[in-house]
Symmetry: C2
Subunit: 414 residues, 2 copies
């Protein structure tokens, strides 16, 4: 439990908290009732609860599949109308379960609560939440069950916030209310390494916003990175914990004492390296390469540029799924320059270590590369930031690399 | 096709029409695409279409079942939040199908369109529809796909209109637009007798609002009676036809030429007769019997009151499901009057014939009873109105009674 707010029981009873429950926590009637009991228990500690819910189980994916059978390229506006229904089902069912155990609860959707977003369907951003309406609802009910993931534009169009958007809904509500936020899922908290990748992985008691942001964008599937951004901006204290256990979870906060040099390790698979070599050394060429990528909305990563004599070599990584488009596009861009070679190599993974402690420690990079070298890992590319180091390595060496780095930076339990 | 409006093609192209598609017409991807094609074809005849959809297939029942597993007595407000999602799924999927074949379409829900209702959750009544918003949407799109069955209160609470409420949504939209309304379902139109009851049943080419109202309230499952009321009030011409055939269907209108003496026959099963005998002949007692029924919301029907000497016998029918409650309630009401006898007898059906022609014909009742008498049908109770006669008969004689009356009043095809 987040210790900075809850010093004694009296104070707790006056406090509001936002809780978010993920789709697998609401997958069936039994789980929905269990969540209701958990909320009832939380009312011993908090005066009011705002509970944000995702669509239960696999609903969103099923709806999208059904849509694609009807129209392979549905308009984003209609997709949002469609998938936003899933959260409303969860919200009303959970509210019924709360009524069943005597809790004064109310379900509310995005337009009822005035969760206003921009107009970017399927990836909308919350612009404001009607604090007044929220207060009125909370005065009359002990628990407000809010549809996560969805919003409404100024002219009443339904939007959704993208994958993991319910996290963002929850944090935005906590920011509006100036209270803490608890994110419940199947996981006990945030781990040094994805437990599916490393069974000995260690649960973190704390992690900073910045580390969490790096880890989220590096492939860790725990928290929506937009949610972490808002939490950081409005200093919302987050706790990530398991729905069906009372373990403490992980606190996400601005800073914490005794941050280790490396807090976590993230992995992204299915990376392909693109190399454009013998580019004539002109600024425009260089710009064209990235302008095209940006126009095409490819998420390009791990860029390295090397100058050899009068020529440039540019290498970067993309996900495998866009590779055909990348090749044909650059063949077209450079069809006048016969010297330019376009090469692609697939089968790579990106592995990154993240740690706030890197800022103040020296020799981290050296430890990192010597650990990989001892393991015989073949490093293809490197990028670094103030709090992370990433390398591109062959897929088949991923397991070994995770093992070497986890040992070096004490990311394992026991 | 309703002949009073569509005299030539040019005129048709300027006309708007409301079409309603029932849940079984939208049960899967194939059917949704077929409905889209039907709408495309209709655009040859109409300038704009407002298409009202129900939840697809069995969605509403499934959601209610799920709710009852979580809370056997869910609040009506939460039930409406839950089941209103079904229509939004249908609306967006159908809109995607329309986009797939190049139609400019938009899905809109009750909130977006301003379909305002009272606050009677699960049985709300439409109070007004925002004509301005409807016009703006129709200017920009050729087809507006509207979620049926749902509404919104003045303070943004989600409501639903009760069983068959999508018919009501459709007729209310047609009334707002001053245009015709077509109700599509699995049936070719309105039949003299439910075809499941009498295979030789005959499709009606026309039926009047009043006949339709009687038939709807007498158990014919074709049109929501509230929809017919609105159609009558605003003179909306209705056509009921099959989604997947081009047959003409049945026109529901104010009056039509050559109305037969009897247009249709309806049946309600599972009727129980309650008899309260030896009631002291005081006005208050009499009133108490019905006041209690009204407070309990029992739908009491076919009342008959007989005075014998100084005592009253009151008999009426209710559906079997409330019978236990009825008995215990009246035992309580009359616990001081030891003479009062409360008897119940189950296993009855109510059979009714309806016809606008009854108003101007004589001898209908005589033909009715003599037909039943020839068939050896045992009549327990009778009620009549200007355009209908109903009798209560034993369940096991129902089939025979349908046969006798259908023959007498020429309700069969061939």
């Amino acid at each position: 439990m987040n210790s900075h707010v809850m010093t004694d029981r009296t104070k707790k009873k006056e406090t509001t908290v936002v809780q978010k429950y993920g789709g697998s926590s609401l997958a069936d009637e039994v789980k929905i009732k269990a969540v209701a009991e958990k909320i009832k228990k939380a009312l011993n500690n908090f005066g009011k609860l705002v509970v944000v819910v995702s669509a239960n189980g696999n609903t969103t994916n099923q709806l999208i599949q059904q849509a694609k059978k009807i129209n392979p390229k549905p308009l984003a506006r209609e997709l949002d109308m469609l998938v936003s229904t899933g959260e409303q089902v969860s919200a009303s069912l959970l509210t019924m379960a709360l009524h069943g155990i005597g809790i004064k609860a109310l379900s509310v959707n995005a337009y009822q609560l005035g969760i206003e977003t921009d107009r970017v369907y399927t990836e909308a951003r919350i612009q404001k939440i009607d604090r007044q309406r929220l207060s009125v609802c909370l005065q009359r009910h002990d628990v407000l069950v809010v549809t996560g993931f969805q919003g409404i534009t100024g002219d009443n169009e339904v939007t959704t916030l993208g994958r993991g958007g319910s996290d963002t809904s929850a944090v935005a509500l906590a920011a509006t209310l100036g209270c803490d936020c608890e994110i419940f899922s199947d996981f006990d908290g945030i781990f040094t390494v994805d437990p599916r990748l490393l069974t000995k992985s260690k649960k973190l008691s704390h992690i900073s916003y910045d580390e969490m942001l790096e880890m989220a964008s590096l492939g860790a599937n725990v928290l929506h990175s937009r949610a972490v951004e808002i939490a950081k901006k409005y200093s919302v204290h987050l706790r990530c914990a398991s729905t069906f256990s009372d373990k403490g979870g992980t606190i996400v906060t601005e800073n914490y004492l005794e941050a280790p040099v490396v807090s976590g390790l993230s992995v992204m698979r299915n990376q392909t390296q693109i190399t454009l070599s013998n580019l004539p050394q002109r600024v425009e060429q260089n710009k064209a390469v990235f302008a095209v990528a940006s126009a095409k909305n490819w998420n390009i990563d791990m860029i390295s540029i090397i100058q050899i004599n009068n020529h440039l070599d540019i290498a970067f990584t993309v996900v495998e799924s866009v590779i055909d488009d990348v090749i044909s596009t650059y063949e077209d861009v450079f069809k006048q320059d016969k010297n330019v070679l376009i090469r692609t190599q697939s089968g790579f993974s990106k592995i990154s270590v993240v740690g706030l402690g890197m800022k103040s420690s020296t020799g981290v990079a050296s430890r990192f590369f010597s650990a990989l070298s001892k393991g015989g890992i073949n490093v293809k590319m490197v990028t670094t930031s103030e709090i992370k180091i990433s390398v591109l390595i062959p897929d088949q060496q991923l397991e070994k690399a995770v093992e070497c780095l986890s040992e070096e930076f004490e990311l394992c339990s026991e």
